[in-house]
């Protein structure tokens, strides 16, 4: 049976979700995303620059027929702003799946959880497929899945920090109790971070800076694809138990005496 990531009413072969920010230009964005194998890409909603309306648009480079466009609510500090942003995004006609993030503080970019819960309730009621960015907090994860979110997305570490999973024990608890996919969102630095998340049993990984900020974003996009795949396969294969002492790999019988 094919191993698919199910979000809302859609299924995906790729378990890597990538952002589209911080690339040198749209051509590099497109290339990196292509190489990453991602089928879902995040975008932000912003005012058009009226004095110099850029004739090129991100969606000229990313065909919404090929990719699921996942608008985010980055930069929103209140539930109201986040809901407003989601409604605008839906009007653009790229579907009803959104990445909900209500930021609590611009230094840490940690989420404002009460505001996230408030926005999630409204958005779920309005028919959005809500993927919320949260702390690595099992209680918040539980509340959001009870509200009806299609996944929960705990951070590995602060957005853009590249620190990798800071609290694997909390992620394990979140995984244990999850009834929806768990996607590690933010804080991944390199391919092994993504592999570790997947080996633990996470359903996917979402990242932007780790790829866009690498010296060679295209090569890192490939590394991340392989890291996520390797981690997923290792999880499905079932790793051996860790032991303190050696166990010989070669037969004990027939040793020259």
């Amino acid at each position: 049976m094919e191993d698919l990531l199910k979000l809302g009413d859609k299924s995906y072969r790729s378990r890597l979700i990538v952002g589209t920010g911080k690339y040198k230009d749209f051509a590099e964005t497109r290339k990196a995303i292509e190489v990453s194998g991602a089928e879902i890409v995040t975008v932000a909603v912003r005012r058009v620059n009226i004095t110099d309306p850029n004739k090129e648009n991100l969606l000229d480079y990313l065909d919404p027929k090929r990719y699921t466009i996942l608008p985010n609510t980055a930069g929103c500090y209140t539930a109201d702003d986040a809901v407003r942003t989601c409604r605008l995004a839906r009007e653009a006609g790229v579907g009803k799946m959104i990445k909900l993030e209500v930021i609590g503080d611009d230094k840490t970019l940690f989420p404002d959880i009460p505001a996230t819960l408030e926005a999630a309730k409204i958005l779920v009621k309005e028919g959005f497929v809500v993927l919320p960015y949260i702390n690595d907090d099992p209680i918040t994860a539980k509340k959001l899945q009870e509200i009806g979110c299609a996944a929960v997305m705990p951070l590995a570490a602060p957005i853009g920090s590249g620190l990798g999973i800071r609290n694997p024990y909390n992620i394990r608890i979140i995984l244990e109790q999850a009834t929806v996919p768990v996607i590690v969102d933010a804080g991944v630095g390199t391919a092994s971070d993504a592999a570790i998340a997947m080996e633990m049993g996470c359903d996917g990984v979402l990242m932007n800076t780790a790829i866009a900020g690498a010296r060679d974003p295209i090569l890192m996009a490939e590394a991340m694809r392989l890291g996520v795949d390797a981690g997923r396969k290792a999880f499905l294969a079932g790793r051996i138990v860790k032991k303190l002492y050696a166990t010989a790999s070669s037969p004990i019988d027939g040793i020259l005496g």
Binding site: G19, T20, G21, K22, Y23, T29, T42, V43, A44, V45, R46, R47, V48, I50, P53, K55, N57, L58, L59, I69, P71, N72, A74, R84, R87, L88, A89, E91, A92, V94, I159, G160, A186, L206, M207, N208, T209
Partner: protein
């Protein structure tokens, strides 16, 4: 007349529709979403929605983000 366009005051001709304003600004309507006084205006209604002095218009689109 004056309207607020993306947070800035702008002088435009009286009786302009949203579609006409976007055209004047050389903005492709297919790639943007418009909000008038906090209400979303669907693309189909751009032509029939006329602007009034003091209106607050937001024109947004997708940009790179994580």
């Amino acid at each position: 007349m004056k309207i607020h366009l993306n947070g800035e005051e702008k002088e435009i001709a009286d009786g302009l529709s949203i579609a006409q304003l976007l055209e004047e600004l050389q903005i492709r309507s297919g790639r943007v979403v418009v909000e008038l006084n906090r209400d979303i205006v669907s693309r189909e209604a751009h032509g029939s929605t006329l602007l009034k002095g003091g209106d607050a218009l937001e024109v947004v689109h997708f940009v790179g983000g994580g």
